[in-house]
Symmetry: D2
Subunit: 247 residues, 4 copies
């Protein structure tokens, strides 16, 4: 198995601005995710955050990324439209993208979905149970029938997304809602995985099962081919005419 | 069956600027499509063109449209981004959208697909045969196994679109290519149909079978519900808590 | 809107053998469903039950059926394989099929799915809440965000079905499970809707929202075309050769 | 990358009964496919044929198979129904299945599809060009825009299959037809690939690009998990009650 080059992009505001969240993620959410990937093995991990130069994602960094993980929440609007466009074209060219939790409202996710990606939510620290609907899929390898998170933010339906190519997880919430919490789509040559868990005020990314899902998803989403889908191509001569002339 | 309010939007440049095309479509491409719908019956037809005030699509017009038909080619870039945004939200809210031919590169189609929508093409007036893959679908009612167009522009794969919810037509071209020439998707509450035929220099929209497909598609795409998908909604109290308190 | 000819097929054993169930469904489950459809209007309703001649579904009856509703539970194995084959071919030819509740294990449903259709279950009379994931779909017209059933049998994931063409409902259960409780597929020229509610010991089919879903589904599943998909067809002469000879 | 255990099952009648076909496939169709896999590397290859004991697929052989390749034509009806049932359950449990060419009418393929799998055909040795619609998919790695076969049997639409999870190839035929010639589906825990090329009277399985597709498909279809989907499971106690008692 080849090494997958993963870049974890994190908004990185909550963890610096709120002591309780700093306590949960002293190295940032990206730090916890990186630790999980390093423990799993087989990944070369880089990180980028919003307040770094080039918003943490230079052209070069992006060119060297097989799979990009995206966590954002309060600062979606601050992400530069040109960066969004570059990430978008990289995904269509074959880079994998894993969008986490509140990233459902990120510019890049809405751009790739072509919908508003709206949903219900409630922050009440209630129990979430993610049911595994796809035991034969790469993303669920090593998991059992479900994952339980004792305290999580609730996200509820209707989630305004295109019908997923494959529905991987559906979540149950103690408060009475359900949510399509793991979904995959292909766009251009790239693969996209939306994974719901990860509110900043709960230690979700330290959970070994959640870490396993993210590692599995990084392997699944790594590119099989990288080529631009931007340019339409005019073919002047009919293939059949060329063939006839060859004879 | 209720009357469906259809608005045909046409760039309307070729037909005014090129005599040969004027000869084919003296009333514009929109005029030919409108004639087809009026002959079919059951439609209230309006038209809008790019060089009219508000680019032919006022808020009011859009609010009174059940299904929007879109034909554009050389002036995609001139369509106002705010208009694109309004059409986009109307589709997600439930309005049907039928994108014709070179509209594959329109801003609104690319926005809804989340891909580049690129393809191969060749203008050689060659034969196109659209095979009917979905005889049980509303859009193909009254058709046989295929539709033949003696002269059409070639569009070839790979067409950079998300996997269609349902593939309706696949085209064969004399020159040796194939194309997914009829595709449907749902986005938000709305339905989208891409239909390939209709290069401006061939009288495709006068063809009764093509007219039938467009009329069928307008019925299929007319809204079942109209409601915004923009706003995420916070639900403060768990449903189960509310239920417990009612007891 | 044309009248849709619906045949309700019911195993009809529980209601005759168990007094408590007789009390809930004195006219049988089929009687309650029929009453709902008649109240909705636009349907011509027939019924058939397992212990009638020809197991309640003669060739003639089947030929005059646009949409077949199927309820079975303890006697799946008694349904004649030849009857299953006839129903199967009718569905592929264009007849709609609505499979209710324990019908997930019926021969006809397993035959159309190509999977085992297994699931978890628990009969504890617990609360079920069906979330509406497809507000723009014909089947959910007139419904709100969800349907609540105070007492139902639990069906849980993983439900062994092919990925639905469209996921209409997902159920939440008080006991902690979720279930894809409304799913649609197309097979041949026909449409199939699986709808989970309806355990015999709860008065689910008297519920007006459940009745509405079934009526909506009957309209959605009624045939657009009826033609056999059994026979492969040899085409001796290339279409292009025929075309050349016509010239 | 782990070794994938592939079993190639071949009817093996044409090659023994018709001298011209013997000349093309002196080691049988299975022999040519096996040679391709061995040259690719990473596979442990076994073969089975219809006229062997246990029709070439013992329980033990099946238990040791990760991916089964199936070629049949004139003797579909002779394949034992119990063998079909065993293969069916193995696929649902996670084994991959690759169905080639005339295998579209095999019992196992029809069983998994839940449709008649009928199509048009013409044996005229005409040109087939398979367009690659999924350059980002595992199955097309190493291929270009299309594969050309100078002489093949024509298979045409409408192919009576459920909408594929992903459409990989669409074929163009000189005679004027198109065909969905590469399609994938998931059933239970297993993956199914239908691949059209391979009429017995043309040397298609000696073609390196066709061999590459088959090798790619064997890797893609190898199981990620193997577990039965037959048994429904009753869960007597609500998960939430168990959780409450644990506290």
């Amino acid at each position: 198995m080849e090494t997958v080059r993963v870049t974890i992009w994190n908004e990185f505001r909550h963890e610096r601005e709120n002591k309780e969240i700093t306590a949960i993620y002293p190295e940032g959410i990206h730090g916890a995710i990186a630790a999980g990937l390093r423990a799993a093995g087989g990944f070369e991990v880089a990180v980028g955050t919003l307040d770094e130069p080039e918003q943490g994602l230079s052209d070069r960094r992006l060119a060297e990324t097989d799979v990009l993980i995206w966590w954002g929440h309060v600062a979606h609007a601050e992400v530069d439209d040109r960066l969004v466009e570059r990430v978008y074209q990289r995904v269509l060219s074959g880079m994998g993208l894993i969008v986490l939790h509140s990233g459902h409202f990120s510019k890049i996710f809405k751009r790739l979905m072509g919908t508003n990606c709206s949903l219900l939510w409630r922050e009440a620290g209630e129990k979430e149970r993610l049911w595994n609907l796809a035991p034969g899929h790469e993303i669920t390898q090593g998991l059992g029938d479900y994952i339980e998170l004792e305290h999580e933010e609730m996200y509820g339906e209707r989630f305004d997304i295109p019908e997923p190519d494959r529905l991987i997880f559906v979540s149950w919430y103690a408060g009475g809602e359900v949510f399509r919490s793991g979904c995959v789509w292909e766009r251009g040559n790239g693969r996209v995985f939306y994974f719901k868990p990860g509110h900043e005020s709960y230690p979700v990314y330290h959970n070994p099962e959640i870490q396993r899902v993210i590692a599995n998803a990084c392997r699944w989403a790594s590119p099989r081919v990288v080529s631009s889908t931007v340019v339409a191509r005019q073919v002047k001569q009919p293939l059949e005419q060329i063939a006839a002339e060859r004879r």
